[in-house]
């Protein structure tokens, strides 16, 4: 009898500890979001989003150039990464069991584990040092490398969901492999491919180290791809580590914009995935 009571008590204690752990985890994470929203909302307004940074001590100023720089570099990264990675995923999907595919998958997983700062250093050594200047182009290339493993591996998973019975039917009708891929497999997996790209874009948008090492920052509007370019994460990093109170306040505002953009991308991707799963 006492043994049974002991077991029950131990079980209850255990459940309480798990609830406590989950409570602490969710509380801490909620606190982070709470501070980002509370301190960010105080500075975000239309002119904050559209104007150039102001010098220290001058009221106003904003993150317009960093916003554009981030959009441009993330867009450039996606533009480079999406076609290459989806082509690679098609290769993996078409030759699923080959030794080469196994090796490509392995290399891609290795890439997904490379610290993003090392990717930044790589592009820094190859592009920035050779051309002699930090640039939006180098930033975009670094971000494309950051995105590559996510797009490739998620695209392969999504392509694999297209049933082989449909592929066989297409081939039986006389379609070539290429026609089958372009008219059946890719359209069939389009929803999933978009979700993978959205998640990759969300990840790239928040990267600081690779952009800091390749595009640095700037206090002016973007004029060419060959110049140092501002971005939201680097602006947050610089402002947060600066000694000026108004810059620090602006760091919270920029963090709010960045976090909202990334959360919206993630939630949309999740809803999108839910919808396309239901349809299937």
């Amino acid at each position: 009898m006492t043994n049974r009571r002991k077991r029950k008590a131990l079980g209850l204690l255990f459940e309480a500890l798990c609830v406590l752990a989950a409570g602490i985890a969710i509380l801490v994470l909620a606190l982070i979001l709470y501070y980002v929203f509370r301190r960010g909302i105080a500075v975000v307004n239309f002119s904050f989003l559209t104007s150039l940074p102001a010098p220290v001590g001058v009221a106003g100023g904003g993150i317009g150039n960093a916003l554009i720089g981030s959009l441009l570099m993330v867009g450039l990264g996606a533009l480079i990464a999406v076609p290459v990675c989806i082509a690679a995923a098609v290769f993996l999907d078409q030759n699923p069991a080959s030794k080469l595919s196994a090796f490509v998958r392995f290399a891609t997983r290795v890439l997904s584990g490379v610290p993003s700062m090392v990717i930044g250093l790589f592009v820094f050594g190859q592009l920035v040092l050779r051309t002699g200047n930090y640039s939006a182009l180098a930033g975009g290339i670094a971000l494309s490398i950051v995105m590559a493993p996510i797009i490739t591996l998620s695209a392969e998973e999504m392509l694999r969901l297209v049933p082989s019975s449909q592929r066989e039917a297409s081939m039986a009708l006389g379609a070539t492999k290429q026609q089958t891929v372009f008219r059946l497999v890719l359209p069939g997996a389009a929803g999933g491919l978009i979700v993978g790209v959205m998640l990759a874009v969300a990840l790239a948008a928040g990267q600081t180290a690779p952009v800091l090492l390749t595009a640095l920052t700037s206090r002016f509007w973007l004029e060419s791809l060959q110049q140092p370019t501002a971005s939201l994460p680097v602006l947050i990093y610089h402002y947060a580590t600066s000694p000026f109170a108004d810059w620090q306040a602006h760091a919270w505002g920029a963090a709010l914009v960045l976090v909202v953009a990334i959360l919206v991308l993630n939630v949309t991707a999740q809803l999108f995935l839910g919808l396309s799963n239901r349809r299937r």
């Binding site: 798990c18 290399a107 928040g206 963090a255």
Partner: protein, 325 residues
């Protein structure tokens, strides 16, 4: 013309289409190989100049061209291990809560919230660590430790707010969603029949978890912890913001220190020649360490003896893909 058309539209493996996709796939491999080669080759001058003494000496002085990585290495190991020590009970407890305790209808939204937090950029964790956590620690926990345990070298004051403890806690918060999401996924892969059989025998939830769930998902959980460790070691920006960037051997948890990643971020803008090469040598080390950790983690996930169903392994990788950075 005819030949090109035929090549383009041929359904055989010899078609251009096949080669284009092959090229893209090989491009990814070439990229990974060249990242490793380039970073390693560019670090060669520092390796030639210092050799093993890079790993055994502790003076880092760019002015005198003297580079020893011991403080950064120790800082990396200590912060990552402390972060994991804090994050492990919390994230496994949370994972058990999410996969075994919480009602079915709450499970998906709560798991999704945890996953979302893996997507929050590291610079935002750093911002919060610097302006919210560090002041709390300076006057709260840090001050208490310095006041009452300050006679121990590892808690020697003054309590600055920034330093090893703050960096470790920020890292713990950052790896928590990753470990929770992956180990939760592994636990959910345990066949429900096993749980039901245990409950039918009158087992409490504690007994089900410790006697069935944890034993059959232990290698997956070990993999999740290793991935968290890899992430903690490679994390640059958030650590740079809260560790204080002092190139000293960390003795007290309350004192500022340096990690390999934070050293690279804080010094690369002014670095050239041998200094740059020394930073690249750090990057090579960092790359190699995280690579080894990730490989061991992958081995844990793919071990044939594992009980986890194949579908769960697939979704583990899907989770990995969502890891932030």
């Amino acid at each position: 013309m005819q030949a090109i058309r035929r090549a383009l539209y041929s359904g055989t493996r010899e078609g251009v289409f096949h080669y284009v996709t092959l090229l893209a796939a090989l491009g990814l491999v070439a990229l990974v190989v060249s990242i490793f080669l380039v970073v390693t080759l560019q670090s060669a001058p520092a390796w030639r100049a210092f050799g093993l003494s890079f790993l055994t000496t502790s003076i880092w002085d760019p002015m005198a061209n003297q580079f020893g990585a011991v403080p950064a290495l120790l800082g990396t190991v200590i912060t990552a291990v402390l972060a994991l020590a804090v994050a492990t009970p919390l994230s496994i407890g949370t994972a058990v809560f999410l996969s075994e305790i919480v009602p079915q209808s709450w499970r998906r939204p709560l798991s999704f919230v945890v996953e979302l937090l893996a997507a929050v950029p590291s610079v935002v964790y750093g911002l919060w660590g610097l302006f919210v956590l560090a002041p709390w620690l300076r006057t709260g926990l840090g001050q208490l430790l310095a006041d009452y345990l300050g006679f121990l070298p590892i808690f020697a004051g003054p309590s600055l707010g920034i330093g090893v403890l703050t960096a470790s806690l920020v890292l713990a918060i950052m790896v928590l969603p990753t470990i929770t999401a992956i180990s939760g996924e592994v636990m959910r892969g345990v066949p429900p029949e096993l749980r039901e059989a245990m409950f039918a025998l009158g087992a409490t939830r504690w007994e089900v978890v410790t006697k069935v769930i944890l034993p059959s998902s232990k290698s997956g959980i070990a993999g999740a912890l290793l991935l968290g460790l890899g992430r903690a070691i490679g994390e640059a920006i958030a650590v740079t913001m809260v560790i204080g960037n002092a190139n000293l051997i960390p003795v007290s948890l309350l004192a500022p220190a340096q990690t390999m990643a934070s050293l690279i971020v804080s010094e690369f803008p002014e670095a050239f020649d041998l200094h740059l090469s020394a930073l690249l040598l750090l990057a090579t080390l960092l790359f190699s360490i995280t690579l080894i950790i990730n490989l061991i983690a992958a081995w844990f996930f793919y071990r044939p003896s594992q009980h986890v169903a194949a579908t769960a392994k697939g979704s583990v990788w899907a989770k990995l893909l969502r890891k932030g950075s």
